[in-house]
Symmetry: D2
């Protein structure tokens, strides 16, 4: 059993706390949050203690920390935890500022850090990746990532979000790297504000298309919208020389209703915590692997690489022209 | 080119006329119908001549006849055509009266007769049969045939129809024989009148379930309704020792409409001439095979065998108990 | 918080223990099992105490018991718990012997008993039931329940199982009652042994079809096999006067693989604890409702009624003829 | 009945001849082809006469011409037919050279010309368009057109084809105009040669992604490959403010095969004449409408507009940067 300190007792922290508790290799020992009632609630629920960052990092019984605090604290807490010799699971993104993230790269790329790009642990996308690895479609040629949120966030969220590319598409940039296993040589991004004028006023877009090109000639398209209009739309298509692997959306249920007007099937799950429920469990189990000595499947370097693509997409959008990487 | 005489210029006769015309091995020479304007219309459309039964059968240039006239004439015309040495394609059923049909069995089972159980030529069901023949599911164990009409016929039609088993389920009895390739040893049928009281007043049912048992222990269920409520519901499931082959319904189109309420797909085709359009073409092409010397895939004996099962189902319904065959 | 004693620490007991623990309205206080290490393991995992039946029932802090012990103990433990005034959740079936079950009916039908027919709590089947209740398909006419296990149990299990109808189809008999809300007036059952001769030697069948008839003229077909050949096949079709509601199987994932040979989609989940994972959670939440004063949705009387149908199906199979209820 | 002259007796000419013959409002009178045996074969099959261009255009009984000859003759024949006052159905593209096509625009945009962008008549895409017109998804925001051929043509075909954008994507450019009903203001195209080095040697690409931007902020992505690896991949997704309309591929049949490895569904149709069989019939029926006085749904101006987009895409590919329209 590896003892865990959870840093951050918000919505995602609650998910991680339960998954730590239910994992037979992990034990939730401490919970840290500047808002003490939130920390207490989680600690009480799962039989843990309320603590502080410094106490948790100084606790020699703590083997790993789960960082689920606000984005701007990620870097500071990772560095502190690395200095304390703890294994680190940190939520994405590593930071919103690429330059700042790069300053920590030397230290954190050699620390025991797992970055929480949860989609890599989704059983559906894992099955797609496994199909690629087993050459189900011959040589991979193109990838289409469709990633639309059910509804846009409040405009006040947009301001501090880092923008669509760093806040939302960051997942898709990571997925492109995981699936294609090449470094993009060119990024072209375009976008519009179609769902809410307040988003444009905040300097952001809500609808984007990004094209990534690779040395091999492969091409990847990322399609994003803050509002799908019908649920949480999370699909990937991977085209190869001999076929196509694609992941469909996950639906609420498997009922079908046939009438003279047609056949109605269930709506798509519209909450990311439902859609990726299993992914969070498997992700935490991989952190148990990491605590047992396995190499993290998503490193700090991966976190920085996704941020670089997001940053390039932003520059392409501004310039109206492709950006060389 | 084989010259064909079409006997019967009604709705299904029109289909057969076009399919004869479009078949590169067949030539529509004569059209016969007691209602001359119907015969003329088809003859004009496809460059054929209007004729009479006796003239068509006496015409030495006619190689085959397509019998698409009223059910009660099937037997008489088949016998006459067999006497004239013509190859015969005859619509189902061979007759509504089993005893009468049996009197002609000796002659017609050795004549060159193809009975028009069109569903055997549907590409979907042919693919299922091919899967069985290629042992895709190991040993066949059970079959479920779901065969529901979109809407009940007028009550006046019911009276002369022969009843649900001979009029509608006759297709399904034939499909069970084709797929299972065993003679049923027991038939149990039950049914209700749920769609229209006039059907019960006419002495018939509109909803039925039939269970057929075979020497091997295999079991087949036939499910029928005169009214599906959502289209022409034509599905088959074949369960084997290592899997399942099933044919889904055919839809009007491939549009999908996702909204917050769910995803709507197209309605099911609701007209048998649409659903089995290709089957009629392939069926007629098989008649060209028969004219070229191939053995008919569906013989008069098959027509009688389906009628025997329909008749036994009727007796089981009356008796409320299974009937041994 | 309602305090719970779990009686029976086997495979299904472990599921219930976790679901009690994770339910915010329930607290797992005691675990009872004749095999003490099994009880200890669960008690340790969830912070409960190991106890005995008598101690647990005498414990005034215990509000409800979850009976997940061997089938032949269900009746005895339900009676004891009812005598102790506890709310009762008991796994299906109530007993394998109808006569014995009937002796307790007076007492247990008025006790606070919830019988664990888990499928009624499956979100897919609940959505179907809700569609019926909201008249999505007009008047319900016929129901098709397809319920096939992935693989047959060992032959030695068959001997003590009560046979296919009481052991396996019992769920389907309960579902028919829940969906149709009428008492069947006639039961016809037929079956074969196709998967394993040892099952026939043990006096049982592995493949069955049951037809139930109702006063309204409605008809229900239950199709069972101990071996689907492709996974845990759990589907229901409900046909009404204006449409069809049907629940499809649940698959392992949502990957699709298109190749020149066709498109392959994921296999069907093949373990009942996966297929009904959510149903068990919702079922236990309903037990929390019951402890809060709600009427159990599945009573002892329901448990007995399903057993009556199973018993009638067995008699029909023996007699080869329908049984009046 | 409108008399038709068919110009061009190749593969697509044969399709049009049959569709003219089967259309009750049209009569195939003449067939023209420089290779007389091809013209004779069609003329014999459908009861028409072999003719020449000049004779057919001089024939006062001819109401309309169907131009299905080689691409480089389209413009010349359209002009001649317009001068002769005939209604014109002409296969796509209007020409491979935009400058040349523009020289005829004044004359042909006011003539009675229907350009054969057959996909607009596909029942699936018509259903999608109808959904847009009926505001099924609120305000249209983005469109994804996926259009992949089953296999690349021979490299010698590539040389004279006009390149991927004019030869293949021309259909998709037309579809984008039809669905979005705005003029693109910017075109960005990128591409690779991944399927056959001979295509690169011929100066072309086989894999492309094009992004079109519109004044409203809408965005369209066109995805093309000369080789899908699994069939003729023809899909469209239209995202709106309140949902998604998408057209799936059409499969060979509706058989599904469930096994422990998963469920296999039929392969996608892999021949355009099968996939668009109905579209060609409906398109010809629309030409009958045009002959009866209806305005052509696809004009010469539409043909030129698609060519402009294809030409801009080619320039963007060369320049590596978006092109303003």
């Amino acid at each position: 059993m590896h003892n865990i300190a959870l840093i951050g007792a918000g919505r995602i922290g609650q998910i991680h706390a339960q998954n730590v508790f239910l994992n037979s290799r992990l034990h939730l020992k401490s919970v840290v949050d500047p808002y003490e009632p939130a920390a207490s609630q989680i600690a009480d629920r799962w039989g843990a203690e309320v603590s502080t960052i410094s106490a948790a990092l100084a606790d020699s019984e703590i083997d790993g920390v789960v960082i689920a605090s606000a984005t701007q604290t990620h870097l500071e807490y990772m560095i502190a935890a690395a200095n304390a010799g703890k294994a680190i699971f940190c939520e994405k993104p590593v930071d919103l500022d690429l330059a700042r993230a790069l300053t920590a790269e030397q230290q954190l790329s050699s620390a025991n850090v797992l970055i929480g790009f949860n989609r890599r642990f989704d059983p559906n996308f894992m099955a797609l990746k496994s199909g690629l690895d087993n050459s189900r479609i011959g040589n991979l040629e193109t990838v289409q990532i469709t990633s639309n949120d059910p509804a846009p966030p409040p405009a006040e969220y947009i301001a501090g979000s880092g923008g669509l590319f760093k806040d939302m598409a960051i997942h898709d940039f990571d997925m492109s790297r995981w699936l294609i296993e090449e470094d993009a040589i060119e990024v072209y991004a375009t976008g519009s504000c179609l769902t809410d004028p307040a988003i444009a006023e905040a300097g952001d877009i809500d609808t984007a298309r990004v094209i990534l090109r690779y040395p091999s000639g492969r091409i990847c398209v990322i399609a994003n919208s803050r509002r799908s209009g019908f649920g949480y739309d999370q699909r990937i298509e991977a085209f190869g020389s001999s076929g196509l692997l694609h992941v469909d959306n996950v639906r609420e249920n498997h009922l079908r209703w046939a009438s003279p007007e047609g056949e109605q099937i269930s709506s798509v799950q519209d909450f990311f915590l439902d859609r990726y429920r299993e992914a969070y469990i498997i992700e935490m189990d991989h952190f148990a692997d990491v605590l047992s000595g396995e190499r993290p499947r998503i490193t700090y370097t991966d976190g920085v690489a996704a941020l670089k693509l997001a940053e390039a997409a932003g520059r392409s959008l501004q310039a109206g022209t492709p950006i060389k990487m």
